[in-house]
Symmetry: C2
Subunit: 216 residues, 2 copies
DNA sequence: TATTAATATGACCAGGCAGTCACATGACTG
DNA sequence: CAGTCATGTGACTGCCTGGTCATATTAATA
């Protein structure tokens, strides 16, 4: 965690450091992120940086925490699907929320994606588990949905969880590519993100997930 | 491409360099691979290395080429699915072939995976396109399968190609995790790779892909 | 104002890197 | 044997890194 000194900083200065650091961790992988570059861009001395953060890892973990908080923050503003939604409705809402977060904070998403799939010297500490946990959570949800009659009882929960997890992870990338958008350019280009635009894609995806691809 | 000098090397020495370098590119991402470490492990002088390869990138591209050749080599030994297989049969065979390659050459797979999804200074040169090409090829195949009546005409080819592509890419990882195997330890542990063992997983996956997850 | 505590600074350190080059070695030729 | 050419070598360069620390500056307190 950052030191008290960091939190004593004037708001705008603190935020500038965070923003720049996030940009760097979105643009480069862990090894590629240079503290020297960050302090230069932020206009602070190297020594100051190390009065705010213990080391590079400390900064990285903090930024990931910030990303998590931002995501919760955004999701809490979104309306939940009406009533006792079916599994597919709920899941569609979750996925849509994830993609809205990607659109609103592409740098944060990219950083988090790197943390999950990139090379980290401190990977074992939390992140391999994050994937495992997401998988197990999904699996449990699927089991419940099967019991409630929302899903075909013949499917294998482990395999279904795999399919859902891997699709959610990559769906954002796919949608942006499909729409010809570079997510990292989203904020500066002030692209008008139109949720309606992606509904057809969701319809198509969930048709496949629900009914399969085989001939009827 | 490596120099003639490299190809003049005695077989065992050349192979040792290749093997060690592949190990390094499997273990570390591009930035993390150290030529100094490679030459030390291989017991050759730094100067010799640069008489074999132009630079780090030259080595990397060559190793990727080797990986491609090895994959074709292995696949050509596998029996094709009998007769005019349906789309699902063919695709199941392709996916199974991919996983057999992963099991037989986990380091090569890991290196290739890194090349596709990791950070490369020379990424633009070919690799972003590789993904795009795979997607387009899959999409075309799906269109044909629809015309032949092998797939539900109501599905969106683009979305279906996305689902197939992302699942094939990660299916190997998923299977190994499910079986409690670390693919990188496969070769040294001489794990007896039993194809039968993964058939149930394929059955489960293709049930989902064909019939979907929704209640019937 | 004098004293103390908090914060800012950038030259500096040790280590690692990719890549170079002047030279050494060995093998083959006339 | 001398001469030539391919190959091997590792000290070296220049660069960048994460991280340190003695010192300077500023703010707070008495």
């Amino acid at each position: 965690m950052p030191t008290q000194t960091f939190f004593n900083l004037p708001e705008h200065k603190r935020q500038a450091i965070i923003d720049i650091a996030i940009e760097e961790f979105a643009e480069h992988d862990y090894k590629g992120v240079s503290i020297s570059r960050i302090v230069e861009r932020a206009g602070i001395a190297k020594g100051s940086f190390y009065q705010y953060f213990q080391d590079k890892k400390d900064l990285h973990l903090y930024l990931l925490q910030v990303a998590g908080e931002k995501k919760l923050e955004l999701i809490s503003t979104l309306q939940r699907p009406p009533g006792q939604g079916s599994f597919f409705d709920t899941y569609r809402w979750m996925m849509s929320a994830g993609i809205q977060f990607e659109a609103a904070h592409p740098e944060l998403s990219r950083m988090a994606y790197r943390a999950l799939y990139g090379d980290l010297p401190h990977r074992d500490e939390t992140y391999a588990r994050m994937k495992q946990q997401a998988h197990e959570y999904m699996q449990a949800t699927i089991r419940q949905a099967i019991e409630r009659g929302d899903l075909d009882p013949k499917i294998d929960p482990d395999m279904a969880a795999f399919v859902f997890t891997v699709i959610s992870t990559e769906m954002g990338n796919h949608l942006f590519r499909r729409l010809g958008i570079n997510p990292l350019e989203l904020p500066e280009k002030r692209f008008k993100w139109n949720l309606e635009e992606i509904q057809p894609a969701f319809d198509q995806l969930f048709y496949i997930l629900e009914k399969g691809m085989g001939p009827k």
